[in-house]
């Protein structure tokens, strides 16, 4: 550190002296320019002297241990980040905030109105392929025609028979649909009018050992609620996570407001947090939004037994992967768990109510949705039933437009999703569309004048260009607030260099984190797909 400062000083001195030699040699002209240069040079040398002594003070303070908390405390200068950071809202209460500069909010039409309707879906399904790494043909323990209760096991993976996947609702199993290569695509349940729950006797959280707790969660379908990083898979029952991370806000386009979702479910949420706290040797981290106008729900801010981390930034600040990177990045062979807020509530209700309650509040969004609002339904609901009538040439997406999956009306919501988006297909030619588009379109680049205005976009699915080789550089870094070089990581994946992949941080990412990079990509490269291929390679290596 000292060496660095000294070095900088010497270089600066050298530059200055060369400068002064020049100035002396041409001072005969005594022009204003020369005088100004002299003045600037003198100012710079004074500034450098002050800066160097200031650094020395700080180093001394650090060595003496009196400057631990407030890094700029003894300095003459206010810290740069302190000067230029946006003012934090009052509800943060002066707590430290992670300010994320990179990112971009895509503002689309069709945000859900803040009212909750009851969902009218009659069929629900468990989709085994939602769980990454599950064998294509898991063991289905129910047959068509069987009656199941909510919480009854419907299937498990033969490679990992301890992880049970359970029915979200009670009713009759009406179909086991198969997809490509006879893989099990969906196990469809026709729901009862009144949901019957399998009665569950929860273990006592205070006295149960970790092993008992894990077995209880495995047996009752709660284990699948947890996802592990790296890879975004359902964790192995034997693994103990370093930490558990829960993001309490979703910054994706048209994403549901989790403050609304969690209303009145504080007890179950807190119980879920307590359970997770028992499962990790580290800490349960909540990521809270410091960029919103209003304070997060008191359910989040009053949660106990957790560490609260505030984040201020644009999308993808709400992605749990970004938050992990800034709280306690995944390193080496670390494994951490992530959960969604509603999954935590489901786990909590196992203990508070003794039942597997897979109810979900789902946001119906998008410009093509008749009346965008929230709907109270269950995991794996039929999409057509929730969304109602839609026009032709409209795409249905389970999830958000960046990382969701395309679905038909007959298909079902994915396991971890809490949002359905409708979006117009853009399968039309447009004359000189690349140069002078007729309608405003969202863009991370500053090449559209509409970017200067505050526009709510009605986007469509057109690719707005053809796929090309990587040409433009630096554009992914603008929308990924992590110390990661996405383009180089993608190239490492493409050439299958797994040492490099690991070194460049593939284990910190899942698809949703690079989704905004994929959106922004000038060359229209399929980054999420490339990343998943890389993650699969890494998983095989592990």
């Amino acid at each position: 550190m000292k060496n660095n400062t000294l070095y900088t000083f010497l270089v600066a001195l050298f530059m200055f002296s060369s400068n002064s030699v020049f100035a002396a040699s041409s001072a005969s002209g005594s022009s204003i320019l020369n005088l100004a240069l002299w003045a600037i040079a003198i100012l710079i040398i004074f500034f450098l002297i002050i800066q160097v002594s200031d650094n020395l003070i700080r180093i001394e303070a650090k060595d003496a241990g009196i400057d631990e908390k407030n890094k700029a405390g003894l300095s003459l200068f206010p810290s740069l980040s302190g000067l230029f950071s946006p003012k934090m809202p009052d509800y943060v209460g002066g707590a430290p905030v992670h300010i994320l500069k990179a990112g971009h909010d895509i503002v689309l039409e069709g945000a859900a109105e803040k009212t909750i309707r009851s969902g009218a879906a009659t069929t629900y399904a468990v989709l085994p392929q939602n769980f990454i790494g599950i064998s294509p043909i898991p063991k289905v323990t129910v047959a068509v025609g069987d009656e199941v209760k909510a919480g009854d096991v419907v299937c498990f993976d033969k490679k990992r028979p301890d992880v049970k996947y359970v029915a979200p609702v009670s009713g009759e199993v009406i179909a086991v649909n198969r997809g490509a290569k006879r893989s099990i695509k969906e196990i469809v349940i026709l729901a009862d009018k009144e949901i019957n729950y399998k009665s569950i006797t929860p273990v006592d959280l205070a006295t149960a050992s970790r092993e008992e707790l894990v077995n209880f969660l495995l047996e009752n379908g709660a284990w699948a609620m947890i996802r592990q990083r790296p890879f975004g898979i359902v964790p192995d029952a034997a693994d103990v996570p370093k930490d558990v991370f829960i993001s309490t806000f979703d910054s994706a386009p048209l994403a549901p407001d989790l403050n609304l979702v969690v209303e009145g479910k504080g007890a179950a949420f807190q119980k879920g947090l307590d359970v997770l706290g028992k499962l990790t040797t580290g800490q349960v981290h909540l990521g809270l939004n410091a960029a919103s106008d209003s304070a997060p729900s008191s359910v989040f801010t009053n949660a106990t037994g957790v560490k609260k981390n505030w984040f201020h930034g644009k999308h993808p600040a709400g992605n749990v992967g970004i938050q992990i990177h800034h709280i306690s990045p995944i390193a080496g062979n670390d494994k951490v768990w992530t959960l969604g807020v509603q999954e935590v509530i489901t786990i909590g209700k196992l203990f508070t109510e003794g039942k597997f309650d897979a109810s979900r509040i789902v946001a119906l969004t998008g410009a093509e949705t008749a009346s965008p609002a929230y709907v109270n339904t269950y995991q794996g609901a039929n999409i057509g039933a929730l969304i109602g009538e839609i026009n032709e040439n409209v795409r249905l997406v389970s999830g958000d437009v960046l990382s969701g999956k395309e679905k038909t009306k007959e298909e079902f919501m994915d396991f971890y999703d809490d949002q359905i988006t409708t979006i117009k297909e853009g399968n039309e030619y447009e004359m000189f569309g690349w140069l002078a588009p007729i309608d405003a379109r969202p863009s991370v680049s500053q090449t559209f004048l509409s970017g200067l205005a505050d526009i709510t976009y009605e986007a469509n699915t057109n690719t707005h260009g053809e796929k090309r080789a990587f040409v433009v550089t630096g554009q992914y870094e603008k929308v990924l607030p992590m110390d990661i070089y996405p383009q180089h990581l993608m190239k490492a994946i493409i050439v299958n260099d797994f040492e490099r992949m690991e070194g460049l941080g593939i284990n910190e990412l899942v698809e949703e984190d690079v989704a905004l990079c994929e959106f922004a990509c000038t060359s229209k490269q399929p980054l999420q797909q490339i990343l998943r291929e890389g993650l699969e390679v890494m998983r095989e290596q592990a």
Binding site: S18, N19, V21, F22, S25, L33, I106, P329, A331, G332, D334, R395, V401, L402, E406, T421, I423, E425, G426, N427, Y429, M431, G433, W434, L435, P437, R441, P442, S443, S445, Q446, T447, F448, T461, N462, T463, H464, G465, E466, R468, A469, V471, V472, T473, G474, E477, D483, Y485, H488, G503, L504, G505, A515, E518, A520, C521, T522, S523, K524, Q529
Partner: protein, 419 residues
């Protein structure tokens, strides 16, 4: 959609005539943004694509094109002692400039795009837009009297060896436009260096030398301008005036320092660009306007531009301190008044494919271009300008810079695991 249907009907078959199909596809996707929809990944895509990016760069250099065409004529008439004001005889200067510039532009694009189309057809992929920018840059960095055959050789060399051999757009290591120039620089040095080549249409830049007007001037433009009522016409009897020198500011500075330059050119003349030089690189304000467009739209990296400026300034200051030759003693800030620094900074160094690709790497890359380029300009005895060679040199080193930046990232991650 009548036009669209007609175009779709005449689309050549891909298997039977791949070249025609590629050609059609290239022009069709230029006229119509395709109807492809996002599959498998994000469901919406950014409005920007490579065409838009590249065309914005081309648009940013249009001011240089306008100024360059007039300046070709202006320099020509300055040698003859006619129309000393920049806008005097504008129709003649413009006509003269376009007669010189358009063939260069046409040859560059015929050769370059022809090769691009042929490779695209051969490889069966769509035509990539890289040559839009290279093709627009190459005429701007050539002397106005460049023999067209050699220009064609240079462009073919740059596109085939420089780009297609490496896999096409996005894969090249060296800047394609500069490669074309450096080819001429080493293969036909007399056409692109020395004092004689920067002013068009003179047999020799010596007093009394005759002007060379082709039939297009005397047989086409003169009658045309006469019919339009102009009194000033091309004068085939004109000769180069006494005391005229076609030397560029840089070669004057090399011979006798800043005083020697200001004897011939005023500061504002050099700043605004009414001086001999390559076609598009003389006018600093117009280049900076283009650079401003590139920075405002975020297409070119401000990091490279800024650090290149700093690098050049630091080296110039060090040379000032050394002060061994007249050229070294030129005040460092006046170095930016001369030569093609700003053009290289705005349009050449910022090429994203050949520059360093990490943000930190870009700062180092830009700084070193500025630093090395100034060394070449001032210390090289044969050729007083350095940006072309400095940029090509740093193009080669850009992957190495990136490598160390990435290694640092990897090491940070490893250290975290050990902590």
């Amino acid at each position: 959609m009548g036009l669209l249907d007609t175009l779709k009907r005449i689309e050549p078959d891909k298997k039977e005539s791949p070249f025609l199909h590629t050609l059609f596809d290239g022009f069709f996707t230029f006229a119509y943004a395709p109807n492809s929809v996002a599959k498998g990944g994000t469901h919406i895509k950014d409005g920007i694509d490579l065409k838009r990016t590249m065309v914005l760069v081309v648009l940013a250099m249009q001011l240089c094109y306008v100024f360059g065409s007039i300046n070709i004529g202006h320099q020509h008439f300055a040698a003859l002692g006619q129309y000393p004001g920049f806008v005097q005889g504008l129709h003649l200067k413009l006509a003269y400039g376009l007669v010189k510039l358009l063939p260069i532009f046409a040859v560059t694009h015929l050769v370059g795009l022809g090769i691009e189309f042929w490779y695209a057809a051969k490889k069966g992929h769509a035509i990539e837009e890289g040559f839009l920018v290279s093709g627009a840059l190459i005429p701007l960095i050539m002397p106005p009297d460049i023999p067209l055959l050699w220009l064609g050789f240079a462009v073919a060399f740059a596109v085939i060896i420089g780009k297609e051999a490496f896999g096409g757009t996005g894969m090249n290591i060296l800047n394609v436009a500069l490669l074309a120039r450096v080819f001429i620089f080493f293969a036909y040095p007399t056409t692109i260096s020395g004092d004689e080549v920067w002013v068009a249409g003179l047999a020799k830049p010596e007093a009394g030398a005759m002007v060379e007007y082709g039939a297009i001037f005397t047989g086409f433009f003169n009658p045309l301008f006469e019919a339009l009522g102009f009194t000033s016409l091309f004068n085939p009897e004109a000769t180069v005036i006494d005391g005229y020198t076609a030397a560029t500011p840089l070669s004057l500075a090399y011979q006798g320092g800043w005083e020697n330059v200001t004897r011939v050119y005023s500061e504002s003349q050099m700043w605004w660009g009414a001086i001999p030089g390559s076609i598009g690189e003389t006018s600093k304000p117009l280049i900076l306007a283009g650079a401003g467009i590139l920075i405002a739209t975020g297409i070119a990296s401000w990091r490279i531009m800024l650090s290149m400026f700093v690098g050049a300034a630091v080296m110039a200051m060090l040379l000032n301190a050394w002060d061994a030759t007249p050229f070294m003693s030129v005040p460092w800030y006046y170095q930016f008044w001369m030569g093609s620094f700003f053009f290289a900074m705005a349009f050449m160094a910022t090429d994203p494919v050949t520059a360093a690709s990490t943000n930190r790497g870009k700062i180092i890359y830009g700084f070193l271009i500025g630093f090395v380029g100034m060394i070449i300009r001032v210390l090289n005895p044969a050729y007083p300008e350095g940006w072309m060679l400095a940029i090509l040199f740093m193009n080669v080193f850009a992957p190495l810079i990136d490598h160390y930046v990435l290694e640092a990232n990897v090491t940070r991650r490893l250290n975290r695991a050990q902590a």
